[in-house]
């Protein structure tokens, strides 16, 4: 009387008609046989939902789903008090659990979630971690000042901070012309799009790392921020020494306003998790961590989008647009856009998910 396990691999087996209700000698079995049809229908609907979403389900079945779920749930409640048939109880428990995941599962598809995210969800999540943003900003400013001071005191620090591959001709003692040349533009757009793709992949990975490290009370996130900004500080020192500070700022601002903002956000998101775990307040630590983690995840999806934009800006306008003023214009516009989007754009929260 063993059910062959292998049949589970080939979808539904042939359905055997249930025995006649009157033939059951036990009251609990008669109870079961009367409701079995509804349970099996619910099981079929749930199985189809698990396989392929809602599209393949007829309207009739979809309307019946909540009622069938409640029938199964109340059957389980009754069966627990009246039936000692362990197999039926186990089946009902599994069925109600599976149906519960579908009935109370996420009703919003990814597209709907993305719309809600772009139209308010993202900027709300950013505003909700304002304190961490302030801390991260402070740390970043401090980091770049530290970078500047270190290099100003001892040039050897420059080689420690700035990785060799990145710097090429940008080393202490380089002439003004050499430095200016690194800020120049490319002749044509050839090769820049793959450069952009590389930049995006690399920068996003760094941001995700900075977020993920926040788990350890946020300290590694801050260290990562300090290190990144110290490199920047060292570069600024180098160029400012040759009177090229403004040119460098313009060159950086094209993509930097987006990219550094993105790094700021991911560091703040990591710090947010770490801070809420260290100081959970009246909530349990795990609940606080989960709440902060989900908010951080929203911000991180946004950061990935920002990194796409930053990589495009870095590869094309920065390498093709020359002149300090146009570069500042692009960078400033982006910065103004992000600030407005995060802090001025405050649509009212929609009524939330429908039940």
């Amino acid at each position: 009387m063993k059910t062959p396990v292998i049949s589970a691999w080939f979808g539904r087996g042939t359905l055997v008609a249930p025995p006649d209700i009157a033939s059951a000698t036990l009251r609990s079995d008669r109870f079961r046989l009367e409701r079995e049809g509804d349970w099996r229908r619910l099981e079929a609907i749930v199985a189809r939902m698990e396989r392929g979403g809602l599209k393949r389900i007829s309207d009739e079945d979809l309307l019946a789903l909540p009622a069938l779920y409640r029938i199964a749930a109340s059957s389980l409640a009754v069966a627990r008090e009246t039936s000692l048939d362990a197999a039926t109880l186990a089946y009902l428990e599994a069925l109600v659990q599976r149906a519960w995941f579908q009935v109370y599962g996420p009703r919003r598809g990814f597209a709907a979630w993305l719309r809600g995210f772009l139209l308010g969800g993202w900027s709300r999540a950013v505003r909700e971690m304002w304190l961490d943003l302030c801390i991260a900003l402070f740390v970043m400013v401090a980091g770049s000042i530290v970078g500047w001071l270190l290099v100003a005191r001892d040039e050897a620090w420059y080689y420690r901070l700035v990785p060799g591959g990145l710097a090429d001709t940008r080393v202490p003692g380089a002439s003004r012309e050499d430095l200016l040349a690194t800020l120049g533009t490319e002749e044509s757009a050839v090769g820049l799009s793959s450069f952009a793709a590389q930049l995006f992949s690399n920068n996003s990975a760094v941001c995700i790392l900075s977020f993920a490290l926040g788990f350890a009370f946020g300290i590694p996130s801050l260290m990562l921020l300090v290190h990144n900004m110290a490199v920047l500080g060292a570069l600024v020192w180098l160029f400012a020494g040759q009177g090229l500070g403004t040119e460098l700022a313009a060159w950086l601002s094209v993509h930097g306003t987006t990219e550094i903002f993105g790094i700021l956000l991911s560091g703040a998101a990591g710090l947010h998790i770490g801070r809420s775990m260290a100081f959970p307040g009246p909530r349990p630590v795990l609940a606080a961590a989960a709440e902060a983690g989900q908010r951080g995840a929203v911000v991180m999806v946004g950061v990935v989008i920002m990194m796409v934009i930053a990589a495009l800006l870095e590869a094309f306008p920065r390498q093709l647009v020359e002149g300090t003023a146009p570069r500042f214009l692009i960078g400033g516009t982006m910065l103004a856009f992000w600030l407005a989007y995060f802090f001025l754009y405050r649509p009212r929260e929609a009524g939330g998910e429908e039940p």
Partner: protein, 323 residues
């Protein structure tokens, strides 16, 4: 957000008649209807298995994609009289971008898309029969799925890469210094986190508020009271004897024994029933016969269940033979 309806409650379950390791993984979920549902935390072994399957799928997928791209790009080069370095840059560049973006999307998208689906599980998880769920008992939100998957990098892949680097350095005989050991300890902490808490939560689960549970797949078994001697009021089809048990004989056993008997009747072959038959006969003071064990047990099962269920309706429960 309909908090009153969606927010279920979870609490620890009193152990029931299962093995000790299984009991430790049992939890209870209260649905919005007020119904308690037993759920089982996925074992660490099955989670590791699922991860390895997923990882293999990703790696093989990426390798296959790389080979395909090289095959296409190779074709591009063959068709032109040019050197590799000066090959048509547009097409090659396009393929390069495709590669970078494909790797990125696969790495992060594979888990995200599948866990956001209606099954809440990746291919590997489905194969071992587990899924993710919200720890609060509420809905599984996209935010939670994103959060738990972003953390995976630092708790798993970076430590693994790091360990490989250390091993390589060791074989080359290079000195690692204390920093490397500190980093190893730090990564090991993340990697081993699931072993330090009851719910086998990894760092990503903690941050996202999720956990991984087993996905039950139980088929509806047949009704026992409609077949064999149970349906014929205790009459055996083999011998025609009618088994009937009195009040005293039926009050020897409780629910636990009844359900053990049920499992035997459903799953065991006939010859395994002989021992059960003999035990029950001895217990109720009957002389055990031979050849008609199944009919005897079916009749005994049906009548014992009828009695216990009858008592149940009057609010009397007999958990096992000792009570």
């Amino acid at each position: 957000m309909n908090a009153g309806v969606t927010a279920g409650k979870l609490r620890r379950v009193r152990p029931r008649g299962t093995s000790r390791a299984d009991e430790k993984r049992r939890r209870e979920l209260v649905t919005p209807e007020g119904l308690t549902l037993p759920i089982t935390i996925a074992s660490r072994g099955s989670r590791a298995g699922a991860l390895i399957i997923d990882f293999l799928i990703i790696v093989f997928g990426l390798v296959a994609f790389h080979l395909l791209l090289f095959w296409i790009a190779g074709g591009l080069l063959d068709g032109t009289p040019l050197d590799v370095d000066t090959a048509p840059t547009g097409a090659r560049e396009f393929l390069q971008i495709l590669l970078v973006i494909f790797v990125f999307v696969t790495w992060y998208g594979y888990f995200l898309v599948q866990e956001l689906g209606p099954r809440g599980a990746t291919l590997g998880k489905r194969l071992v029969g587990i899924r993710i769920a919200a720890r609060s008992g509420g809905r599984l939100t996209p935010e939670a799925v994103i959060a738990r998957n972003l953390i995976r990098d630092i708790e798993l892949f970076y430590p693994l890469v790091f360990l490989i680097v250390i091993l390589a350095m060791n074989t080359l005989g290079e000195d690692m210094g204390p920093l490397a050991w500190a980093a190893t300890a730090w990564f090991a902490l993340f990697l081993l986190l699931p072993f330090f808490n009851r719910d086998a939560l990894r760092a990503g689960d903690i941050v996202a508020g999720t956990w991984v549970i087993e996905m039950p797949r139980t088929k509806l078994a047949e009704t026992l009271s409609t077949q064999g001697a149970a349906a014929a009021e205790g009459t055996s089809a083999v011998t025609g004897v009618r088994y009937e048990f009195g009040e005293a004989e039926l009050s020897v056993y409780g629910e636990k024994e009844l359900q053990t008997l049920e499992r035997m009747l459903r799953e065991s072959p006939d010859d395994a029933l002989t021992a059960v038959h003999a035990t029950i006969c001895r217990k109720i003071g009957w002389e055990p016969g031979a050849g008609d064990e199944r009919a005897f047990l079916e009749a005994f099962y049906a009548q014992l269940r009828a009695k216990l269920e009858g008592d149940l309706r009057f609010g009397k429960r007999k958990a096992d033979k000792h009570s």
